[in-house]
């Protein structure tokens, strides 16, 4: 009986801990990427962005996604890979209009993905 109660408390604590960690971690990682993308977006709007700026965002993402694979489905990560790859290539070729649209999509994805993992009615059901 005591063992059962202890196991309930431990597993509930573990689950709650993992849930809280996931929530904060995903938000923090995507928040950081969103900040970097917003900075890149400003530079693209001013037509000042260059290959190094785009590569910096890509490097940041490459570093973050390695850990994110453990907590979110890999399909979500590959969306970002796809859109970021295109945005970087447009920045490199100085095609700022197309790059801007890709970056805006990326910013939206960064806002949306953490929401899909939050405990909300629409996500539960």
């Amino acid at each position: 009986m005591v063992r059962t109660v202890i196991s309930i408390i431990l597993s509930a604590a573990l689950l709650a801990g993992v849930a809280v960690f996931e929530n904060f971690y995903v938000q923090k990682q995507f928040g950081r990427l969103e900040t970097a993308l917003t900075a890149l977006e400003m530079k693209v709007r001013d037509e000042e962005a260059n290959r190094t700026d785009a590569e910096t965002v890509k490097t940041l993402w490459e570093d973050e996604k390695r850990k994110l694979h453990a907590v979110i489905p890999h399909n979500d990560i590959s969306y970002i890979d796809y859109w970021l790859g295109e945005a970087v290539s447009y920045v490199e070729t100085k095609n700022y209009d197309d790059a801007l649209s890709k970056i805006e999509v990326l910013i939206t994805i960064c806002e949306q993905i953490p929401k899909t993992y939050s405990i909300a009615f629409e996500n539960v059901f």
Partner: protein
Amino acid sequence: MGLIFLRTAIIFVALLAVMRMMGKRQIGEMQPFELVITLLIAELACIPMADTSIPLLYGAVSILTIFLMHQIMLIVDLKLKPLKAVLGGKPSVVINKSGIDITQLKKNNLDISDLIESMRGAGYFSLDDVDYALYEANGNFSAMPKEKSESEEPSVPLVILEEGKYNKTNLEKIHLNEEFFDDILRKQKVKKRRNVFIMTIDGNGKIYMQCYGENYRAFRAPLPEGISW
């Protein structure tokens, strides 16, 4: 992960409720919550294992949630008796001194043939062989036999009338017709055939009959010459 926990817990509770509502015939030697766990755990382990796009952690969280639910069910089972009956069910006495309890039978989504099958599984071939019979909460069938006072040739009882309808296959087997049994019903003062829930007869002419809302009757009817099985 909080989402996975909630979704797993919801599916667990939903499955448990469905299993409880399905009645005892769906269970089979397990408590309802044990069956739910058996149903869920294999899939939960399999999906993240086979689908590489899902983090393995999702499977671990689901399985840990199932474990947590299991432990909570154990506590409920041991400590909260009123809730235990709600979650795990309680035994249903389907045969008592008055005969078959039709309400209990229906409540568990069972019919008379299921009951007869369970009786045979337990080694009783006549409904009249037992004083009490019950389905345990885990779906097992238990029966308390009647003390035998008379010794006679063993004979398998056959269902003649079931929920007001003649079993034509069995009538052909024993070479008797509906009129023969209609006559018995008249002698027993049964006004309408559809009032009969069950009537069985064995090769010695021993009849077990129960009408809706009445106690069972066991009596003998002389079989025509040359008819026995």
